[in-house]
């Protein structure tokens, strides 16, 4: 196994309070709406999305729900299908700082999905939101059962993390040089 499983509790507890779409065809349809929109799917065919839908759950949350909580152990990532989510991080005085707002097509929580470290920030819905969930266990299954699809997903994750790391590092450099203060 490439990804160590059994290391972290199943995600079901955290997600149990959200309405879940159980039908595979419906999941594929929901995810299919992101083709051409979600960076994760930028090289995906409809077939890829159909294969992936067998490994993903789709959930619906109301407005004002916290779907990921900073500091929690989390072993899944989210893909927002519809709706909008605030990304919040606790400041030094434990107040919630608004970092950004993201919508359909955005992937959240992929770092913890892969490395099992605590959640870096919280995510709260600003409207009714539909999201796909990919757990670490299922990512490991994809790699084993459909390695080409697994590699496609992993390459996308590396690309997205690289882009974010470049942006964050560039911003940090500007702070360090005193251009922003």
């Amino acid at each position: 196994m490439v990804l160590q499983d059994q290391k972290f509790p199943a995600s079901a507890d955290v997600l149990g309070r959200f309405e879940r779409i159980a039908d595979n065809g419906a999941i594929a349809d929901e995810l299919g709406t992101l083709l051409g929109r979600a960076p994760l799917f930028s090289d995906f065919t409809r077939e890829d999305v159909k294969s992936l839908s067998e490994y993903m759950g789709v959930y619906r949350a109301d407005v004002g729900e916290t779907i990921i909580r900073e500091g929690d152990v989390g072993d899944f990532m989210l893909l927002i299908v519809r709706g909008e989510v605030d990304i919040l991080k606790q400041g030094v005085h434990r107040e919630q700082q608004h970092m950004t707002t993201v919508g359909a097509g955005t992937t959240i929580g992929e770092m913890s999905m892969i490395d099992g470290e605590p959640r870096f920030a919280s995510c709260r819905t600003t409207q009714a939101t539909t999201f796909g969930v990919l757990t670490r266990d299922n990512m490991a299954k994809i790699i084993l059962e459909q390695p080409q699809l697994g590699a496609k997903i992993l390459v996308k994750l590396v690309t997205m993390l690289s882009a974010r790391l470049r942006q964050t590092s560039a911003k940090l450099m500007r702070y360090m040089e005193g251009i922003i203060s």
Copy 2:
């Protein structure tokens, strides 16, 4: 050796000026010294390293050589086998700022290897340095020909980028909150 040369087209003109180890067995031996030391290899078996060595070149650079130049297009990553490298980034006034120094086991340039964006920083040897090179083309070949090994490498890259992104974001947060200035 023929297989090696087919799999490792001396792609990077940039690397042409460094002494290259051409023998596959020697490459595997060099990379093997990193087992148990390099984060990239943390789940690797000796067999994995042997497979990977067929897709990697190993080079030697003298002290004071720039092996990656900020802003260049680059389609390969480095794995330092022996030696030490300064990571330098141009400041606003175009002066070289020293960011960090890294040694054996460290992976460099994986962002450009995957996403093809210009190099974010420069790398200059502070002593005679031996390094492995994995090009994007060969990463693609590994994914096709040895998908499990490909997934293993990609999972490591995601994990390493996640860790760096967490560190960089946390540091940025501290600057933004005025704790460091």
